[in-house]
């Protein structure tokens, strides 16, 4: 088998809350697992077990206190735990896609531009990017009358679908999904399942968190239970 696209090894994360008397929270301890290209691994475990924190560390959004997270793509290996900020930025530009739970964008920019921008960042021509953005938004059932508007006033589900369209607009060898289906109805959940399957078939390594069992069963090749990590460490 090829070397994995994501290798998490002995990773730990704690938060020290200085404003609350220096209280320390151990959110992740000794996490170790790997994700290969073409498979979808789902992080399992109850709320608060550190699933989101693991995704955020892989994306470079949270700092890593111990261990290593090696990402392999485009012929390079990078340990995100020790990478320079510029290297992390470069990985985000070409290697890692990330769909967060909430859409966070600049005010005033239309839904279509948000999605097309992600596609353009991937190297697509302006016109191609707009066409692809339109077909993704249509596929995710975002009404056409909303495309030209900024998403600030959209419903939670609509915002989330714009967020998903943006995350899937660019094609990256590693894709992190943090509860992308949380506020979607059955019809749109099915679209997301389709999108995930297409990416898997293209060889993308996918790591996700899904609370919805239907979606999880439909896409997961393996489930990694994060509650077992701390136990192994003990």
């Amino acid at each position: 088998m090829n070397s994995p696209a994501i290798s998490v090894s002995g990773v730990a994360k704690q938060f020290v809350m200085h404003l609350q008397g220096g209280k320390t929270l151990n959110v992740v301890d000794n996490a170790s697992f790997a994700v290969h290209g073409g498979e979808c691994v789902v992080l399992g475990g109850p709320s608060g077990a550190g699933k989101s924190s693991i995704l955020k560390m892989i994306y470079g959004n949270y700092r890593v206190d111990a261990g290593s997270i090696t990402l392999a793509a485009h012929g390079h290996c990078t340990d995100i735990a020790s990478a320079l900020p510029r290297e992390v930025l470069r990985l985000r530009q070409h290697t890692i896609g990330y769909v967060s739970q909430f859409l966070r964008v600049i005010p005033r920019i239309s839904a279509l531009d948000i999605v097309a921008e992600a596609r353009r960042a991937d190297g697509a021509e302006d016109e191609v990017a707009r066409q692809d953005a339109k077909s993704l938004l249509a596929r995710l059932n975002v009404p056409e009358r909303l495309w030209g508007l900024a998403p600030a006033t959209f419903s939670g589900g609509e915002q989330q679908r714009v967020n998903i369209a943006r995350g899937f607009a660019a094609s990256r060898p590693i894709l992190l999904l943090d509860e992308p289906t949380a506020s979607l109805d059955a019809r749109n959940r099915a679209v997301v399942v389709e999108l995930i399957r297409e990416r898997k078939a293209e060889g993308v390594a996918i790591l996700g968190i899904f609370h919805d069992e239907d979606v999880r069963d439909a896409v997961a090749d393996r489930i990694v239970d994060v509650t077992t990590f701390a136990a192994q460490a003990a």
């Binding site: 200085h18 404003l19 470079g60 949270y62 700092r63 900020p85 470069r90 600049i106």
Partner: protein, 259 residues
């Protein structure tokens, strides 16, 4: 894999005002296309740092190296007066919080932009006017306001004009001091949007000083948190804002009002 030399390389930069610390032992590298936000409260030393970086103040110690157009790294404080002035007029830009400090208020909008072109050797009136007009359009100022003086402009328009004046010579490095400070929020959003687009299109390196963490999040790739003249925390912008380590950074982040 990331091996090219930085555009700006700062080491041990220190400025005292007598016995008082302005900024102390600041160091960082900045590359083309990177936006670095310097955040902190008033008195944290961020404005002093910007003044020293842009050579408006002499440092007490440390160095600021800049990669000139010929590819050579030079200490900006070792440049001759003429060389430094040329650098400031062509390869660098400075956007002041108060646009009246960065504009000539008694000269027309077109003149404010054209003047920078003349300073780098443009002589043909028609070309200068055309280029100035293009830049006014880029910053969303209507051409029929080209011959008006900035005095007659709103705060947001003045700020956009100041940006056009700075960018017309295609600088590679731009310093910004609270560029959206003192503007209405709606005007602020439009300006942020504009700055973000221009920075990305032109591949500018930017050092932006702001006390507004939302501005830092929207515009910058990296962030430096300053307190009492020193840098206490640094990293990717979203990393520092979402996972702040230092007590002071945690306090800053938790003090932002959520809308």
């Amino acid at each position: 894999m990331v091996a090219e030399t930085p555009l700006l390389s700062v080491a041990g930069l220190t400025r005292y005002y007598g016995a008082r610390v302005g900024c102390e032992n600041v160091g960082f590298d900045l590359y083309e296309g990177e936006v670095l936000a310097v955040v902190g409260e008033s008195g944290s030393g961020k404005s002093t740092l910007l003044s020293v970086l842009s050579t408006q103040l002499e440092p007490t110690g440390g160095s600021v190296q800049y990669r000139m157009r010929d590819g050579k790294m030079r200490d900006v404080f070792a440049l001759g007066e003429a060389e430094r002035r040329l650098l400031l007029r062509t390869d660098w830009g400075f956007v002041h919080q108060d646009a009246s400090h960065g504009l000539r208020m008694s000269v027309s909008a077109g003149g404010n932009v054209g003047e920078r072109l003349m300073a780098v050797g443009w002589r043909h009136y028609g070309n200068i006017r055309t280029e100035a007009g293009d830049w006014l359009k880029r910053v969303e100022i209507a051409l029929d306001r080209m011959d008006d003086k900035p005095r007659q402009f709103s705060g947001g328009m003045r700020q956009r004009l100041q940006i056009a004046r700075n960018l017309v010579t295609r600088p590679r490095l731009v310093f910004m001091d609270e560029p959206t400070g003192g503007l209405d929020v709606s005007v602020q959003a439009r300006l942020l949007d504009l700055i973000r687009g221009l920075v990305a299109d032109l591949g500018l390196a930017v050092v932006i000083v702001t006390h507004d963490l939302a501005v830092a999040r929207l515009l910058s790739h990296r962030i430096m948190v300053m307190k009492g003249g020193t840098v206490i925390e640094t990293g990717l912008t979203d990393q520092v804002l979402d996972d702040p380590r230092e007590p002071y950074t945690q306090l800053l982040v938790s003090s932002v009002l959520q809308v």
